[in-house]
Amino acid sequence: MSTQTAIFESAGDLSAENRTNLRNLLIAIADTKLLLGYHYGEWTFGPPQIEAAIACCSLCQSELGHVRLLHGLLNKHCDEDPDRLVCDRAPEEFANIPFLDSGIANWAGLVAANYVVDFAVTTLLYSLKDSAFQPLHMSLEKMLQEERYHVHHGKGWFRTLALKNEDTRTALGVACARALQDVAEWFGPPEESAERQLLEAGVKQEGSSSALARVFAEIGNSADELQVEVGLHKSNDEWALVEETAWQDWDSRSRRVRQSQPDQDILYHLRGNKNEVFKLS
């Protein structure tokens, strides 16, 4: 719920606390999309069908475009250098959903990244769609339009693997259960202070708990229909994790409870370190 009273044309119109809160949130979204783009790109070769390979290529292009747009906002309104965000940060500074930290071992993992992780980020973006921070509001309509196809793809493959055989259904469940745990961690604890401030200013329109409930409902209902065990249970018409997150060590900047970070070799490839000599200034 928002108590929005003002429209913010630039981050300079926000309070100092909310400038930092907004910056941290945008970086977390951009980091997740950057890592999603990397993994989709990696899976441009190797999926079970050529159509899925082409889809991964397209999903990668889409996510990297969104990163470019978000980095532009961070550059203009939060004085962040996009090159620094990609190339000059320590791994522990990345605030992506942890599921993307390491290589995705099999197609079930990629489907979990697509259906659970990608959908979760999109759900969070919906909570910013009518943001009082106008530059963000004016950017999200197109981004969300494009994301509709991502979830269709993820949901289609979730269904395909769930129905193929017991092995694929089990692998899918294991991957999605881990992805859901990591998504819950990234959304953060209820009533977290940075989020409360963003909600009060109208920068966000929906709290993380409510957005996470919508993610759980989407995945939980699909899993229930197709008998995939994804680590969710239903109680009083609401889906929740079987294993609840312990929040005492949650860090609002990295959006993690654990000491974890993207693998160095992923960052090495993602940053194009081996092509340093070819970089354009």
Binding site: Q61, L64, R68, L69, H137, S139
Partner: protein
Amino acid sequence: MVTTDQVWDALARVNDPEYPLSVVDLGMVYGVGVNHKDIQIEMTFTAIGCPAIDMIIADVRDEVGKIPEVQGVNVDVVWSPAWTKACITDKGRQILQYYGVGL
């Protein structure tokens, strides 16, 4: 004195790199402003991840910059309202259908 018609005519000569139709017929140009010798163009793209954004902007600047007396061309990229197929002009639809693109 530069006119908006001259600017629209110049933009109609800037083609999309993938299909043989202009950014105007694709419905990517949302507005044109003329302030003496400085031109302001508001445009969008069909996809946020379009790899040709910089190239198309360069083509726009180049083509509009050829209009006599024009000194500056500023291109403002916007994402709202979001581009959809509904933005394509009737002429653009005919061209795409001629080349077998379903709409």
